[in-house]
């Protein structure tokens, strides 16, 4: 769910850009460090950004029949870590604004905050929490990917509610309205993306176990099984 160009008041647009900037800067620093140590990672991150972009152009089978597309937030966060995803997500969101008119330049900061910061950090937190609780790998991935989507969508709803509080009920009523309107597409999308990410991770474990082990994504016993 991208906030469209010009939708946010100028103070909110600037505020969210300022809030996102440190995460993008830290992400860029970590990417620079990675590239200095492993130069081949530069190509990997660039191709990963393209991969995230093309994922957003895929139509996913949705239970409501609505047109939904995977965001790749959960998968990307599990594979590359949440810090690197802020600049990668920023590039993808800028491309979506420029190539597809989804989102916008003035709302780029707000969209980066919800999709490239909150979503990935939520995904990794849930994945690590579930792993620490010794949940099986599949349900951990499902929860991480689904909740990352839900957190992204709730953050966007909160951003809209902050910008446009309800005259009678204030922020909470506005949050309920925005969350309610977009829940029709976003909740089924979160569930479908959760299942999809599990299928993807299972396929990766079968065919790309060595790469996953090198990235410390999966416990060894899962790969061995």
């Amino acid at each position: 769910m991208h906030i469209m160009e010009g939708f946010l008041p100028v103070s909110h647009a600037i505020g969210w850009s300022i809030a996102s900037a440190p995460f993008v800067a830290v992400g860029l620093r970590s990417i620079n460090k990675k590239i200095a140590e492993h130069p081949e990672q530069r190509m990997l991150l660039g191709v990963a950004a393209a991969f995230t972009f093309v994922l957003s152009a895929l139509k996913m089978p949705s239970v409501t029949g609505s047109s939904s597309h995977p965001t790749g937030t959960g998968l990307g966060a599990i594979l590359f870590g949440p810090t690197a995803l802020a600049p990668i997500g920023g590039v993808v969101l800028l491309f979506q604004a420029l190539l597809l008119a989804h989102g916008g330049i003035t709302t780029l900061g707000a969209n980066i905050f919800s999709m490239a910061i909150v979503g990935p950090f939520a995904a990794v937190a849930v994945f690590r929490g579930a792993t620490a609780l010794r949940l099986p790998f599949g349900p951990s991935v499902f929860l991480a990917a689904s909740l990352a989507d839900v957190m992204t969508y709730l953050t966007t709803a909160a951003q809209l509610a902050l910008a446009f509080p309800d005259p009678a009920g204030g922020f909470l009523a506005s949050l309920a309205k925005f969350a309610g309107v977009f829940a029709i597409t976003q909740i089924p999308l979160a569930i479908c993306e959760g299942f999809l990410t599990v299928v993807v991770m299972n396929a990766l474990i079968r065919f790309n176990a060595r790469e996953l082990r090198e990235m410390n994504v999966t416990p060894r016993e899962v790969i061995r099984a």
Binding site: E5, L45, G46, V47, P61, G169, F182, L196, V199, E211
Partner: protein, 248 residues
Amino acid sequence: MLTEQSAYTNRWRWVSPTAKGILTCSGIVAAFAASSPRASLLVAALLMATAIFGAGIPATRYLRVGAPALLFLGASCLSLLVTLKFTHGGGTLTMQSNPAELSHIARMCGRSCACLTALLLLTLTTPLSDIISLLRSCKVPDTLLDLMTLCYRTLFVLSAAIHETITAQSARLGHSTLALSLRSMGGLVANLTIQVWQRSQALHIAALARNNDGALRFLEHPFAHSRRHITMASGAGVTLILLAVLIP
């Protein structure tokens, strides 16, 4: 992609990207500075007319590109038109329309439309490679520009791979039911994820073979009459902002 088709085939293909960038920024400033919904809608109409009649973008393509954003705008305006009221005593929730908010919503709608048309003017007339060059001249960090360049140059390759895989899966009835479709989609994404590693490794080897040891640089198109275009765009931009501010 519709925007890319327009960006390479429109009449303003060889107009300086800096000039188009200035006009877009002016359009966005005018949208935010507009004194009334009427003024912002006028800005939107002028920018749309510039793209369709000036740059020669087909009207149907223009509307198709803008449609998803307008859908978001419609759903959001619907949310803003309705007011929720929590009644603490009875624990009930009432919903009512809020005509008092109409002028506020109209203003926001006008602003969004004007900003959208400003963005479309840039994206439908300027290829992304030119926008990346423009960002390079604005001193955007090299790492970010490298990510953009690689992303831009690879996304068409991955898109082609996706289309071919979906065609192959459909031919084997891989999308005939919801469950099969989800399974096929999972296989497709997993396969693409593996390709990310393989293709990036191949790109790295190719870059090493060309003695690449730093930022990725590509030849940029020279734009004739660049100074004239920038002057004209600046004049048009100032006029647009003045119109937005002065029209009641």
